[in-house]
């Protein structure tokens, strides 16, 4: 069903997907956002529970509060490197595009999702959250196919974000996402290009039993 040409392009897609923190001002068309969300909903989910809840963030006040919160958390995170060579390096990294990205999206997991009737959750309730992570990844790849960049921001207090966005207490924050057209494309991670962390040998991560 999928030929060698597609396989080669699919691998290129994996190689050119990036965590994007530098965005152009150009808006993402509403129909493109809708199409990306529809793709995300094709992700796998345990028991077909579809536990993802997508919250589009459109209020300027919420954006401002998010920027303040993440910048504050980032200052705390930076302090963990104080006294080491990594401190100045960390401070030099741009880790989010919350100010510029034309679209912001929070993805939550409904821990009480009724769909799926609990199948596959008896011993691994975290499968609901992993399902949401695959939905984020599906959206990410679909965005890249369409030339749209995505950045996944995790320098935040998930509970504070839930409170700020006034979502039900049984929704867990999985991701805060920035979306927009990237100001550059690359086939290597920005953290690698900036000398923070290179790719490591795959052989070190494969074991046998």
């Amino acid at each position: 069903m999928f030929d060698a040409v597609f396989a080669e392009r699919f691998e290129a897609l994996l190689r050119w997907r990036r965590d994007v923190r530098h965005f152009d001002a150009r808006a993402v068309a509403e129909e493109d956002m809708r199409a990306l969300l529809a793709c995300a909903a094709l992700a796998p989910s345990v028991g077909n529970a579809q536990p993802w809840r997508f919250v589009r963030l459109r209020s300027p006040g919420i954006r401002e509060a998010l920027v303040a919160h993440v910048d504050g958390q980032n200052a705390l995170a930076a302090a963990r490197y104080a006294g080491s060579d990594q401190h100045a390096h960390y401070l030099s990294l741009k880790l989010h595009g919350l100010r510029e990205a034309p679209e912001l999206l929070a993805v939550f997991c409904d821990e009480r999702a009724e769909a799926g009737h609990g199948l596959g959750l008896a011993t691994m309730p975290e499968m609901l959250r992993y399902s949401c992570a695959t939905a984020v990844h599906t959206l990410w790849l679909a965005a890249r196919v369409n030339g749209i960049g995505l950045g996944w921001v995790s320098i935040l207090d998930p509970q504070a974000l839930g409170a700020l966005l006034d979502v039900p207490a049984h929704w867990s924050l999985i991701a805060l996402l920035c979306l927009g057209y990237p100001s550059e494309h690359a086939d290597s991670p920005e953290l690698e290009r900036r000398g923070w962390q290179a790719r490591e040998p795959l052989a070190d991560r494969i074991f046998e039993r």
Copy 2:
């Protein structure tokens, strides 16, 4: 970089990816397994931590122990539906292909991954596990591109599996995967075709703030 033809095929890939529990006996070529693992390692990861640890399960004794463990856990899971209409329905579902799948793979998350130097983990250490979930999803899509099916089994005790496979205590089990050529292809989930859980409207999962 990716044209409309590719975009259309990529969406078809999302639509035709399935959780597979019915496998042909045909082996997966070793070079194909290697290529799938190489694709999985292109997944995004927090801080570029690459926390995934892939354990290929090749011992017949381990397979036997896994089958016994999962069948036991499945009996316990089924008991949760006792007394409801769903009990017989649940028992009629085939939820794993551990006996037949030519390849078994356990994916763990190294909670102490040194790569990435903790970036992005201060408030969301679970990002390491979400990174591993995206690696599983990457492997899943790459398998489907190559006509290979994957089933993600979660009816198991993650700690018991870690002990059985004798991995470090700080590795968390993310997924037990069955891989092989599927005996059929479908563009709808098996749990939907078997009447357990249909797709739900996307509009019910999108919110604004």
